[in-house]
Amino acid sequence: MTDCTARIREETARLLAEGRVDLVIGFEEGSLPLRATPCFITEPGDTGRLIWNAFCSNNLARYLIRSDRKVGIVAKGCDTRAIVELIKEKQVRREDVVIIGVPCHGMVDPHEVRERFGDIRIQTVEDTGGKLVAGDGTALLSMNREDALHRSCRVCVQRNPVISDVLVGEEVEERTRDEFTDVADFASRSAGERWEYIAGEMSRCIRCNACRNACPLCYCSKCFVDETRPQWVGRGTDPSDVLSFHLMRVLHLAGRCVECGACVRACPMGVDLGTLNRRMSADVARMFGCRPGLDPGKPAPLSTFDPDDPQDFMLEP
């Protein structure tokens, strides 16, 4: 058992026993190799289910929305960024959550692991910190942990919790500054090429809404895609409807997206939502000097007005 797992269990048991929370949201062992799964603990006796490993990638902040209970939540850096935004947007009250913060070494993408090890039937995965060692019952194979990380984790600038009530595990060293190099190439292409790339990605979208539903900041009680009076976006897979959905969604998340990558991980079709989101985040960072979720005291750039706000995105008069 890792140190973090033991500490999470301990803190959960304490929070529940002291009656400080009604429930703790954390992770338990998944039903499949390379998976952990969200779990909801209400009894101190159940804390043994909780775990912490390289596959705790869901953003649990999503479960805080419209909750009427006092909740303890296990949160990585990106999860706390989401909580910070939810507090700012008055969706969550700070006093209603107890954050069990966990410094994060980056979460591992099961697809990357499977890609690397091909067809073997992985039964066990050990995380040595630097390496991932996968076993199929007979042989052991290893790969660099860094090479298996989710894309969002590779560019993450906030691996330590932004806010927390209890910190579990050692703080990790933050990466160097994020220059959005991952979308630099995309940004340098012509408008036509960018359009073609995005349209190509969107052509695989099946409109399952998993990206939206996994997103901690997509909490509208009625999303514009579900609106029928009048209808904004058609329900089907017509390319213009798919694009409208994704473009409107990314714009609605401008200045709010905390770059956790939950949408990308949820997508069953491997649609590259990251590029759009990161491009938008790059613009927000450049124009407003803002990285959502990093600064609890700073107002959201797009819901406040400042005479010095950049104007250059407006059309020429």
Binding site: T228, R229, P230, Q231
Partner: protein, 277 residues
């Protein structure tokens, strides 16, 4: 092979405002091309559609005794209902149907029928009442007692007909409103309260009920007090529907589909279904 999604064309003969607030209108439709007899029973519904706008289910509000002119009473709720309200005589509209099971006419033969309705849910009960009052059918039923309510007098439907029914001696009618205005001289109170005052013989009476959920919720206990058995109470339900033919999968209550197994269910049957409506 007939395409069950293809509507037949109907011509709008009349589009009349029913309520003072104009939120409910009645469309009378005739067939543009007559293919076969449109045989239906009261309580069945049809999908009305405007291609490019949408399609929605509505109870057939007129009697099968007059199968050439179909009435639909439409409350304005959203896209389709709004466009339907704008139709003018001579316009065309699509129709698919008849759909659903309708009221259990056979079972009503030789019995007293207690009709209880509220809101636009009264539309299919109006169809039943007109049908039962038709000289060819009146003998099939014993006493016919109609209780109908609306929130206020302005929201009452079919006012001419109500006047006419009120004068007849082969049925009895109680119309009630929750809130009256100065001009109202009739009964004030809810539908369940009106039902409570009735004298019925539970052994020979069957009730047909259709209306908003709250009306149904409070009326059922009253019917139980009057001694009506659950298999002698028939409710017409509303669920969100699309296909109307048991394919699209959205109107089920447990394993029963409201569009094909309903919309009319006996209370006895509903009691065996999960409470998810």
């Amino acid at each position: 092979m007939r395409n069950p999604y293809a509507p037949v064309r109907m011509r709008v003969e009349r589009n009349a405002v029913e309520t003072e607030d104009a939120s409910i209108r009645t469309l009378s439709l005739s067939f543009v091309e007559r293919r076969e007899v449109f045989a239906f029973v009261p309580g069945q519904f049809a999908e009305l559609s405007l291609l490019g706008v949408g399609e929605a289910p509505f109870g057939i509000a007129s009697s099968p005794a007059d199968p050439d002119l179909l009435d639909f009473t439409i409350s304005r709720a959203g896209q389709v209902t709004t466009e339907l309200h704008y139709l003018e005589p001579g316009d065309t509209v699509g129709l698919r149907g008849p759909l659903g099971n309708g009221y259990p006419l056979e079972e009503l033969h030789g019995r007293n029928v207690l009709v209880i309705g509220g809101g636009f849910g009264f539309s299919t009960l109006r169809a039943f009442t007109s049908f039962a009052l038709h000289p060819a059918n009146r003998g099939d039923f014993l006493d016919l007692e109609v209780v109908y309510g609306a929130r206020n007098p302005g929201l009452l439907l079919y006012k001419d007909e109500l006047k006419n029914w009120g004068r007849r001696d082969d049925m009895s009618l109680s119309v009630t409103v929750d809130n009256a205005d100065q001009d109202w001289s009739g009964r004030i109170g809810t539908v369940p309260a009106a039902v409570k005052t009735l004298q019925v013989d539970p052994e020979s009476t069957t009730a047909l009920v259709c209306g908003p959920p709250a009306m149904i919720r409070y009326t059922l206990p009253v019917l139980a007090e009057l001694g009506l058995r659950p298999d002698r109470i028939h409710l017409s339900l509303e669920m969100k529907m699309k296909c109307g033919i048991g394919k699209c999968g959205r109107c089920n209550i447990g394993g029963s589909y409201v569009c094909t197994d309903g919309p009319v269910f006996s209370l006895a049957r509903l009691d065996r279904l999960p409470r998810e409506y």
